[in-house]
Symmetry: C2
Subunit: 218 residues, 2 copies
């Protein structure tokens, strides 16, 4: 057991601390961070550009002094969801867990950005509902790059494999993508200025009072 | 699709934004928050006082301007882990998921406090390893209140039910608790000043360079 030597000054300060039996209030966290916790949920076909937009927004938010964090295949599929496959049941559980974790991040005060194909409307709507039921803002952003463009890009050669039948159940080839009916934002392509896209989303975050303008932001 | 009207000023700023293809570097996040991400893992018998200490520390950290977040039964068992029961397999999966989520929070730059019985050494060691492998600090704190004291407290009457046989597999009654062999800190009881306990942990966080002293902290 580690013990520590206590100076008089420290003991005096320490006496001001009282026991707490519950979480810090969300408003105290917002006050500290000068922002509201929320989830910005990117959805779209493989290679549509979701992650590129999410990472660009994350960098821009951090640069402006806001705390953001991207959940993506990289930090989720190889960690929390490493025990899930690609069956219908596992895909649903995959998105359920991502919804729950993004809700925890939003509750902690962060702008949580999720970047997953999340092809099924019901799964995304469930994630939205669990946020809204907890009073946490949820923004769905559809990166609706046409499948032909996604196939041309295909940086990992996955569309090619799916078209050759080497991969089964690939969204956009032999598995459906259910487009959002009422996304908060939609980008038809990422073939435009990254600044325009990032700032369109930032404007939405300011407009909803999630970010409070700091001097020099825009 | 929402579009926005762009002023000249905004367009000019927007041109500085470039595409990013990966996460914000941990160091940039640390710079913003003036702290390092880490996980402080509380373990101990039911009613040992883990959550009381975790919440008290969370309040104290926020008051001092540091970002912390408690994962506990309240926000995990009713959310992410709602589909887990209390079988040996599910208990292991429960702690595995908590380990993964706390690692995400630490990676995002927060001081993540976890408050779970987490009775098995192997499960806790796995959580530690997954942090250390990612270069993230992990502190195990054993709240080692004797079982007799925990039974006297028993705020939810769970020990009573377990002793009556109404609950099976209750840690400390008919399920084992494996005490940590080398916890970073141990508190033999919470029957002492909350300030002393909170500040002992804070000192450890300062000592490890996780928190950088801000003026007026201690």
């Amino acid at each position: 057991m580690c013990t520590s030597v206590w100076g008089n000054e420290m003991e005096k300060k320490a006496t001001n601390v009282v026991w707490h039996e519950s979480h810090v209030a969300r408003v105290d966290r917002e006050e500290l961070l000068k922002q509201k916790g929320c989830t910005v949920w990117f959805t779209g076909l493989p290679s549509s550009g979701k992650s590129t937009i999410a990472f660009t927004l994350e960098h821009e938010l951090i640069r402006l002094g806001y705390l953001a964090y991207v959940l993506d295949g990289d930090n989720i599929r190889h960690g929390l969801n490493r025990n899930l496959g690609f069956s219908a049941e596992d895909r649903e559980e995959n998105i359920r867990r991502i919804g729950e974790v993004s809700k925890l991040f939003a509750d902690a005060g962060l702008v949580c950005l999720t970047s997953f194909i999340s092809p099924y409307r019901a799964d995304r709507d469930r994630a939205r509902r669990m946020h809204e039921d907890a009073g946490l803002p949820f923004m769905e952003i559809h990166v609706s790059t046409p499948v032909s463009t996604c196939m041309e890009r295909d940086p990992k050669g996955l569309y090619r494999k799916a078209l050759n039948g080497e991969i089964k159940g690939f969204t956009g080839v032999d598995d459906p993508y259910e487009a959002p009916l009422h996304p908060e934002l939609e980008f038809l392509t990422i073939d435009q200025s990254p600044g325009l896209i990032a700032h369109t989303i930032l404007q939405e975050l300011y407009g909803r009072g999630i970010l409070t303008e700091k001097s020099g932001d825009l």
